[in-house]
């Protein structure tokens, strides 16, 4: 069997070459904001954003991903793919120990996969492609797939597939396991202390397998629930890092201008958050494609980007973010054109029926965006009523299909098979759940394209399939795509190499160092 060897190690070397331009210094403490306070740190069981941001330092995955989403070694040092694209063999790193000193082996990987199938919804969906997982020896893991699955090498990042210690979890009640509150991983930092409501403290793992890393001695994740207070904490020097999304967007320009402050939009390539308006395709005026297209023309997305998001991000062209694989902008375009929107509404016979708009209860920026979109739609003659709820109440309404238009943003996880198709295929229409196909769009051609796209080989074939899917979706407007969001990370310039991969701050601070 001939094997295609992916030289992840070389990529890793390329990555650190830029870091070597300046010799990293050892020592120091980083104070970062975490918002909101994570409910827990056991990444295999809790998958919300803040949990990953903190625990991405404690746990590790088999792989990481470069800003271009190429796989890089982490717990797996190399990997090969069989010619029929059904067998993936990972060679694990030797000499890795858990924070309690026990060795890390293939048995931990096997156990983690079994656990994740039960506790991690995304991992379970991804692992559904796997027929069997075997460990021929302590440092080799072989995944055999039922059929080729294009994005398979893209599912091993720490948040998607965290590796947990078998010796601490096997045979225990996972949900009450005491190590949930004092997690033990293989990562560059170890859990030390959590003062609920105040801070989480991580300390350097002195036995980390990459010699010399991590450079930082300690990380304090500070919990500051009020957005204005988080800005002040940065201004007064109490925190050094504001990860993307931790301050209101309208504070970003002001904070960016502060002395010794550096800003980067990097580190979101893997997640590629894309914001759109859910449009309820089932009922009322929005069941008509022309009304949905009218919405695309009516909303001034450049205004939203320039004013509400302070110029950050990009106007979306369709269901895929431009950062993920197989993106194409060779699709129908919807520039801001109120006249065209009015014409389409007239053609569709819209007579001023009331349309309910649900903004997203994620703070001031989103509220303002809700108001702007309402204004745009009202300008072309739509009768919009804003419904205000909190996040849980909004999710309930969306899950129950009790809405007309609703704001959302979702991650795309680097590949259309992982993060795009789920929102458009008809098998994902299920009442009572959010974030699947809640708009109720059903198109057998799209179903088939996404089904084929996931298993097609080679890459060029996948591209062809996804190009077609994007064209059809953009013509049909099942949802109204708004912006590719960018959540800038604000930090003191003395913090170097904080973001080195496409997973960004969520990938841990193992490469970061302080220039002081």
């Amino acid at each position: 069997m001939s094997k295609r060897v992916l030289l992840g190690l070389l990529l890793a070397c390329g990555l650190s070459a830029s870091a070597l331009a300046q010799e990293p210094k050892t020592g120091g403490v980083i104070n970062a904001v975490i918002q909101p306070e994570p409910p827990g740190l056991m990444l295999a069981m809790i998958q919300n954003g803040p949990t990953q941001m903190v625990s991405g330092n404690i746990f590790e995955g088999l792989l990481r991903y470069s800003p271009k989403l190429e796989p890089l070694p982490e717990l797996a040092e190399s990997w090969t793919v069989s010619e029929d694209a059904k067998t993936y063999t990972f060679k694990l790193r030797k000499g890795v120990t858990w924070h309690d000193g026990k060795p890390f082996t293939a048995a931990d990987v096997l156990f983690s996969m079994e656990m994740l199938k039960q506790t991690h919804a995304r991992a379970r969906t991804n692992l559904a492609q796997v027929d069997k997982i075997e460990a021929p020896d302590d440092y080799t893991v072989v995944f055999t797939l039922k059929q080729p699955f294009g994005p398979f090498l893209g599912i091993f990042e720490v948040g998607s597939m965290p590796i947990v210690p078998k010796h601490l979890y096997e045979g225990t009640d996972w949900k009450t396991n005491p190590y949930n509150n004092a997690p033990v991983g293989t990562g560059p930092f170890m859990f030390k202390e959590w003062q609920k409501g105040s801070f989480i403290r991580l300390v350097k793992n002195p036995n980390y397998y990459e010699k010399g890393k991590p450079y930082i001695d300690e990380i304090y994740w500070q919990i500051i629930p009020d957005a204005a207070a988080r800005s002040v904490a940065y201004e007064t020097g109490k925190v050094d890092v504001l990860p993307g999304g931790s301050v209101e967007n309208f504070d970003v320009p002001r904070l960016s201008k502060l002395k010794d402050t550096c800003v980067t939009g990097a580190g979101w390539e893997f997640f590629s958050p894309l914001a759109w308006l859910w449009l309820n395709n089932r009922q009322g005026p929005l069941a008509d494609k022309r009304v949905r297209q009218a919405i695309m023309y009516a909303v001034d997305r450049d205004f939203a980007k320039d004013v509400i998001w302070n110029g950050l991000g990009k106007v979306a062209t369709g269901p895929s973010s431009s950062a993920i694989k197989y993106y194409t902008d060779d699709v129908k375009k919807y520039p801001y054109d109120p006249a065209k929107a009015k014409a389409l509404l007239k053609e569709a016979g819209y007579k001023g029926e009331k349309i309910r708009l649900l903004p997203l209860a994620y703070g001031e920026t989103w509220q303002r965006w809700g108001e702007a979109v309402k204004q745009n739609l009202t300008d072309v003659g739509m009768n919009i009523e804003t419904i205000s709820t909190d996040v849980a109440g909004g999710n309930q309404k969306i899950g129950d299909w009790d809405y007309d238009i609703a704001f959302t943003y979702l991650y795309q996880y680097g590949d259309p098979a992982l993060g795009v198709g789920r929102n458009y295929i008809s098998s994902n229409i299920a009442k009572g759940q959010v974030f699947n196909n809640v708009e109720g769009y059903s198109n057998p051609e799209i179903d088939k394209l996404f089904a084929d796209g996931a298993i097609a080989t080679p890459d060029s074939k996948r591209k062809e399939i996804y190009d077609k899917a994007q064209k059809i979706l953009v013509e049909d407007v099942p949802v109204a795509w708004m912006l590719e969001l960018q959540f800038p990370t604000i930090m003191r310039c003395k913090v170097k190499n904080l973001i080195t991969t496409g997973i960004g701050v969520n990938d841990g601070f193992k490469d970061a160092w302080l220039d002081k």
């Binding site: 403490v29 104070n31 909101p36 306070e37 409910p39 827990g40 056991m42 069981m45 809790i46 998958q47 919300n48 954003g49 039960q118 991690h120 919804a121 995304r122 379970r124 969906t125 949900k175 009450t176 949930n180 509150n181 003062q195 609920k196 409501g197 105040s198 801070f199 403290r201 300690e218 304090y220 500070q222 919990i223 500051i224 629930p225 009020d226 204005a228 207070a229 002040v232 904490a233 201004e235 007064t236 109490k238 709820t389 909190d390 996040v391 849980a392 109440g393 999710n395 309930q396 309404k397 899950g399 979702l410 991650y411 299920a430 009572g432 759940q433 959010v434 974030f435 699947n436």
Partner: protein, 323 residues
Amino acid sequence: MLSFVAQRVVKGVVVLLAIVVLNFFLIRLAPGDPAVVMAGEAGASDQVFVQQLREKFGLDKPVPEQLFIYVKGIATLDLGFSFRQQAPVAKLIAERLPATLLLTLTAFAISLVLGIAFGTFAARFAGTFLDTGITIFALIFYAMPIFWVALMGILLFSVTVDWLPSFGYETVGANLTGFAHVVDVAKHLIMPAMTLGLFFMATYTRMTRASMLEVKRLDFVKTARAKGLSDAVIQRRHVLRNALLPVVTLAGVHAGTLIGGAVITETVFAWPGIGRLMYDALLQRDYNLLLGVFVTCSVMVLIFNLITDLVYRLVDPRIEFAA
């Protein structure tokens, strides 16, 4: 007096039970399913996952059964398990209780001492500039929203002059001990305690002033004056003591709500207390945790009501304990 206390405790238990049942249903009336919230946070929401979460929460059982399980737990002082936070509710509340008590009791003391003092002065010098000044000062703090006062405080004392820390309970990472730690916590406490305290102070000032002016007009004050008592003695022993009854009533009500009533202050100042715990639990529909906080607050209200009744007796010996 003992039988009075015993009777009140029995009544309290009945009230508590009623509160638990009422809250149990009220929380479930709010739209939003905790399983969907958690699934959403996980970035996935397939049917199996949501169903698993419902089973974990015990939400798949009929509501009356859920209530029975919960009340049974409370009877054995078990407030349940927060699945979102992966910890027993009692532990989560206990972790936050000291910070909340420190903040609210300090604020309470500030508001009561300053309020009664200012109210007494205002009444004593009614109609003068001093009275007008105090009244305006009190009104300003009563009229301004707490979050506004808090943010302005941060702007002035943390950003502009840099005297006080803007957030938190202590300096993170300083690892101070002993007296240095006490000073550090005190510095962090000043702004939140003053923000919260000044708001309540305004109420006490106004109430003490009004009540004293009313009592001053009564006959027994004239009698005292006719007996030749000094003005200071009349104000302190006769007017103030009689004027305090409504203030004590109000303070009793406030004291009971202090535990959960500092949500905004705790949020703006990142104070790690129960108010914030409750707020987060509400947003996440963490039923067990939310109910646990409600139960704790209710118990506090009941305890403080009892204390208020006992203090009445101290302030006004004419009040009898009716058993």
